[in-house]
Symmetry: C2
Subunit: 440 residues, 2 copies
């Protein structure tokens, strides 16, 4: 089975846990199965679930450059990634991922591909349904086979699929845009299903559509001209023009965890992280990524979330409306997961920033320099090697490395290594960074 997971853009609706560089799918908020008290993200959960159902499934994540580090950090190095050089909506993204499967991974034109979003909260039945979706597409009765989710309420958030019959597999009669609640009720009465953006096709079908709409030779050519492509959705470019579409009904658990309100419904416990709720709290959830406790007293229907980026305290209902407020916050990114580890800003002063950098064993930073700031590394744990203007030196906890502006530097982690990096200079900026090839 070839699965393409669409990993969407920055998610401000789950601020302060998501931000410009950490999308909601990377927040570790779901309890992992097993005795340890460990948590996994949406991406990790869905990837684990796929691999449990089908260990040989080829999973490709279609995403933007900004997420590549986080994906490798959370899923390891072996996952396939189709990187969009820039955002061009779903049709170019799916065309690129399909070309990637064909030209890079060597998947044949006859094989089926199942595309689904990376962020629904689902159980194992969903993955069985994905498998059936692929098998149905393989039959070639239709060019596209969609998953239709049995509605549980007249939602205004989804498009609707109207099937010809109520059979488990049916031809699609028509599609409906996101309706208001009353219209949604009439759709449901007619047997319409939610369109969750899950569908299967034979590889050659989408490749052919792509060649019809875009002038390109192969994956590498498509990648190279990606920024010249028109923004267009897969629905608009393909689905609406295709007469031969089937839908398969799905009645299992399927939740879109796009807001704090829906996300907390999927939490197994009231609190994640250090938190105390008194007995007068009712329907309160706390997600705390800070090292200090949160004390909640006498709250009702409230979600509290704290991260190095900020603190949200919201009525659950109202939590759907945070985006415009978060858009106005343009603070420094305080925390990021990278392919090599993570960093966290500890302190910001006028002419200095203090950061904790954690490098995973065997990983290294880019070899780089800054024009406008000096840096000091205070190694607080672990062992590694630094390269300063070409000179190697082993370092361990307690060692200090000073780097003047202009000096080229990197650190390579032997074990996990943690460093307090003190940056000193006027107008410190993430853009003040020159990268170099490392000749080792």
């Amino acid at each position: 089975m070839n699965i393409v997971l669409l990993s969407g853009g920055s998610g401000k609706r789950l601020w302060p846990l998501s931000n410009d560089i950490r999308s909601k799918q990377f927040i570790k908020i779901f309890k992992k199965p097993g005795p340890e008290n460990e948590y996994e993200s949406m991406v990790q959960r869905v990837y684990r679930q796929i691999k449990q159902i089908d260990a040989d499934a080829m999973v490709t994540i279609a995403t933007s450059k900004t997420q590549v580090s986080a994906i490798h950090n959370q899923l390891g190095e072996n996952v396939g990634i189709s990187v969009e050089p820039c955002r061009r909506d779903t049709f170019p993204a799916i065309a690129l991922a399909t070309a990637y499967l064909h030209d890079v991974q060597g998947v044949s034109e006859e094989e089926t591909v199942v595309v689904c979003p990376v962020d629904p909260y689902v159980d194992d039945a969903y993955f069985d349904a994905l498998k059936k979706l692929g098998e149905q597409a393989e039959k070639g009765e239709a060019n596209l086979v969609l998953m239709g989710v049995e509605p549980t309420y007249p939602s205004e958030k989804y498009g609707y699929i109207v099937p010809v019959s109520k059979e488990p597999t049916s031809m699609v009669e028509t599609f409906k845009e996101k309706p208001d609640m009353e219209t949604a009720k009439t759709y449901i009465a007619q047997g319409a299903l939610w369109n969750g953006g899950v569908f299967a096709y034979r590889l050659k079908y989408v490749l052919q559509r792509a060649h019809e709409l875009i002038d390109f030779t192969d994956y590498h050519d498509l990648y190279a001209k990606y920024d010249t492509l028109k923004k267009i959705s897969f629905d608009y470019a393909v689905v609406e023009k295709e007469p031969k579409i089937q839908v398969q009904r799905f009645a299992g658990e399927w939740k879109d965890l796009g807001t704090w309100n829906t996300l907390t419904e999927a939490m197994e416990e009231e609190t994640i992280g250090e938190a105390i709720l008194n007995n007068n709290c009712e329907n309160v959830h706390v997600v705390n990524e800070l090292d200090v406790p949160i004390l909640c007293m006498g709250l009702k229907d409230v979600v509290v979330s704290a991260s190095p980026e900020g603190i949200l305290v919201s009525d659950k209902e109202q939590s759907s409306y945070i985006k415009p407020f978060v858009d106005k916050l343009d603070g420094q990114i305080m925390f990021a997961e990278k392919s090599w580890g993570s960093y966290r800003v500890l302190d910001i002063e006028d002419d200095s920033i203090t950061v904790k950098v954690t490098l995973n064993p065997g990983h290294k930073m880019n070899y780089h320099s800054h024009e406008r700031r000096d840096e000091i590394w205070n190694v607080i744990s672990g062992e590694g090697v630094v390269i300063i203007d070409g000179v190697q030196r082993a370092v361990k906890a307690g060692d200090v490395v000073t780097m003047k502006a202009g000096c080229k530097h990197t650190i390579i982690a032997t074990t996990e290594i943690k460093v307090i990096e003190v940056q000193i200079g006027k107008e410190i900026s993430v853009h003040d960074k020159q990268k170099y090839e490392l000749a080792i």
Copy 2:
């Protein structure tokens, strides 16, 4: 006028802004008069108000050792402090402060002393009332003159004073313990007044009582044997046994800001620090000492407070009951104001702690060493002089000083100087500190 301000113990009721070493009276939460957006603490507010009414007033703060640094930090070096070597309740504390006025400050036995708590929220009329209280005590018609606050509601939190008449100044008929609400109503109907713990006396009166109850020669002797004294309240030791007591009525603003609920009533603005409230918030107050924003959505009757110690989100009514929950938190002290400046813990790892230290110009740390940890100073702003094992060296932003365990060290601020201090070692503890005399 001699005023003794009683500055009480650790205030967990205003956690996370107050903690074991920062009492509520030191939280900067009141807007200063004037165009700048500056805040002052209860101590600063009351001290400023006294000095405005009477620039020559001799103010002595009776407090414990742990608060001396914070008082100097907030009020400067010139304020008189009567330091209790340990806590022994109000009678020994007032006796010690009275002996301090007599033996250290040279106040004559005939002069009057006005004692009041440091933390009520009052306006200028209160200080006029204090002055009248002192003038009345000077007349010698009674041995004690109490302030009786006109009740605004049948409070269960205060003791009541029953005056003989409803004249502005009256002899006291009797005192009543804190009543329940129904009893409070009957007291008020009888013309009883709140006992706010404010009173005046001629110095010799309390000195005489002290000599009757405690065997001591002078202030220094009393100070030396302070830890052997019995804990006893001023009310029990003096007030209840004294027949000649007068009360003066006071009808001005007088608020006891002991809980978040009452404190927020005295706040001039909804928010202090970085905070956003949407329009659906109602009766919400935010006090944010962190560098990141707090976003509140659709909350009602809630107080949110965040500091380096933790985050409180509480229904206002319920905020009176936080103490038992806060008592259970026994985290590291994350922030402190010292006479020389302040420190803030930025990061805690198993074998390292990172701290930002700010030294005020002209101030220095103790000359000290640690047995079980190395330290690294990263100077991030300002200029100063370090002394490392007796060797002086000038330092400025960008300089690094490394200190192995056992090495004696201090830093002296020329300008304000800020240092990122990285501590590395097993079992880092505040108790691992040896102090030395500095031979300069």
